[in-house]
Amino acid sequence: MTRVSEHLNRALHDLLAADPGVHVLGEDITDPYGGAFKVTRGLSGRFGDRVRSTPLSEGAIVGVGAGLALAGRKAIVEIMFADFATLAFDQLVNFAAASTSMYGRPVPIPLVVRCPSGGNRGYGPTHSQSPQKHFLGVPGLHVFEMSPFHDAGRLLETMLGLGRPCLLFEDKVLYTRRMYEDGVVDDLFRYEVTGGVARVFLEGAAEPDCTLIVHGGMVHRALAAVRDLLLEEDVVCELLVPSQLYPLPDLPGLERAGHVCVVEDGSEGGGWGAEVARVLHPRLWSTLRRPITLVASAPSVIPAAPHLEREVLVQPGHIRHAIMEALS
């Protein structure tokens, strides 16, 4: 059994071992601390000053990463909490992303900015957000998210291979969960990964009543809802989990979906779900029976107290309720 954080750690080890051009930067990432969530553990001991702990300078370290990339290296920058990626917004949007095309010719910027995101840990309003939506729709900027289905090594290779800046969101609760293996989720559900999209399905089921599209950090809550829907409501659901959130890749099998529901952990309004719906509505217009359902967290700050936080963030019950309402 491999925890997601260990799996990411192994992928970083393998990547640095395989490619001497890869650098890793971030606050408190060197040993013995190994990063706030231990994802970079062991890297500095093994790879020396290609792995650097930095000052508290989110904007500048993303800029330094872009500079390393500009000069022919590959850079991975860890932002300790995704909330602080806002401090690097200028470097990401106006430099890293823009420079891939604003000089009239393609300029490769192989840069990955890793962002531990999400709540349900009681960390409070500035350490719990899922700010993916703020980075959507920026020309030249790709947004990815880790999931328990996607191989982190392949994901890092894909992102660096794009030659464009990428954000990689990693849900902080997901870190503590295990990677799924061998196509098995549990006693009922199976999964397969094709074209970077994981599909979770009920073995032997024909057409799902509803297809949920979720990002990696939402997988376990969506699975809990899907299980309850099956066992208690006799509703068959399928789950699609793309590792690339923006631009949205091709999602398989949606033409046969009875209904489509997008679930995201970010706060409601101007979110990823709206972007997914924008792409899917024209494509599925003739087969959709009703509008795509969007489920998001409340349009609210994320409280520190667990009883208040729980009400703001998407929980399995919210997903189940939204799907039952749409199907009724």
Binding site: E27, G124, P303
Partner: protein
């Protein structure tokens, strides 16, 4: 963390701190220890940053601040708060998400706004805001006091704010708690030059104090703080201090020798040894007070919040 501060900057023969100061020091100490204990017992969630070893800084400053002053705090802010408002119940209720919480349990340990006290969990964010509030205080005799750590000098906003503070001559007191470390990274690995040099670059007066004696600190700082109020100018006061506990909880990767070196500077063991009787009595009183507060607050119903 290697540092060059002398182990005891203040003479061991200094007179005992005033009873009310010692009481406040001990209140903060037991508040922080109680939080760590509650965490270990699984009664608290999220995270917390205690100011163990650094309590004397806000206690010393307490007497130099006036009620109209703004105080901006950071992630390590429980001591800053308790030295400003002696309300351990309200703070504990905030951290535990119980009735009577200062901010309905929304902000938690790192995000508190109470009267003119405000903290945020994003490093460096508060300094420009502090300058804005200080602008409104120009000429009133009041000031804005903002606490930041040594590591926070990595953030660009700190410099943008210092520049404006000096240009516009605002009454801003920047209190730097230089404990030689930021989370796990020693200052030597993240700061080129010095805090003094950085203040000098903006033409802002800087004062460094190594004392941990409250009366001594107050005597040193009183005329400087008076000048901030009188002339409406910024001032950077840097405390050479020591974090004797973990950054948050259970995440101290310093060597036992480094931790022992930091603990050598602890006022708690020093006072316990120097004034055993007075210390022992107040220590017990404050420990019991916080224990009662914890029991009382834990028994309260969850906080209620009207979501906007």
């Amino acid at each position: 963390m290697i540092d060059t501060f002398p182990p005891f900057a203040s003479p061991r023969s200094a007179p005992p701190p005033a009873e009310e100061d010692l009481q406040l020091l001990l209140l903060i100490r037991h508040f922080e220890l109680t939080l760590l204990r509650l965490f270990e017992a699984g009664q608290l969630s999220g995270t917390t940053h205690t100011c163990l070893g650094q309590e004397y800084i806000p206690v010393a400053l307490k007497a130099l601040l006036e009620s109209d002053d703004f105080v901006f705090s950071n992630h390590r802010g429980h001591g800053h708060f308790l030295a400003r408002h002696t309300d351990p119940h309200g703070l504990l209720a905030e951290i535990m998400g119980r009735e009577g919480a200062l901010c309905s349990g929304v902000g938690g340990s790192q995000h508190i706004y109470h009267r003119r006290f405000l903290s945020t969990g994003v490093q460096g964010e508060s300094l420009p805001v502090a300058v804005g509030t200080a602008l409104t205080l120009k000429g009133t005799g009041a000031l804005t006091c903002v606490y930041i750590g040594d590591g926070t000098w990595g953030e660009g906003s700190v410099y943008e704010a210092l520049n404006m503070a000096r240009l516009w001559r605002v009454p801003l007191l920047v209190v730097v708690e230089h404990n030689g470390i930021a989370q796990s990274t020693p200052t030597t690995a993240q700061m080129a030059g010095t805090v003094a040099g950085r203040a000098a670059a903006f033409g802002i007066p800087h004062h460094r104090t190594v004392s941990t004696e409250i009366a001594e600190i107050r005597a040193e700082l009183a005329p400087l703080v008076a000048e901030v109020r009188r002339a409406s100018v910024p001032l950077v006061v840097e405390f050479a201090t020591h974090r004797i506990g973990p950054h948050s909880k259970g995440d101290d990767t310093r060597t036992p020798e480094e931790i022992a070196l930091a603990a050598d500077h602890d006022w708690y063991t020093r006072y316990a040894g120097l004034f055993p009787e007075a210390f022992g009595r107040l220590d017990r009183e404050m420990r019991e007070l916080v224990e009662r507060a914890a029991a009382e607050v834990s028994a309260r119903p969850p906080s209620v919040w009207e979501r906007p």
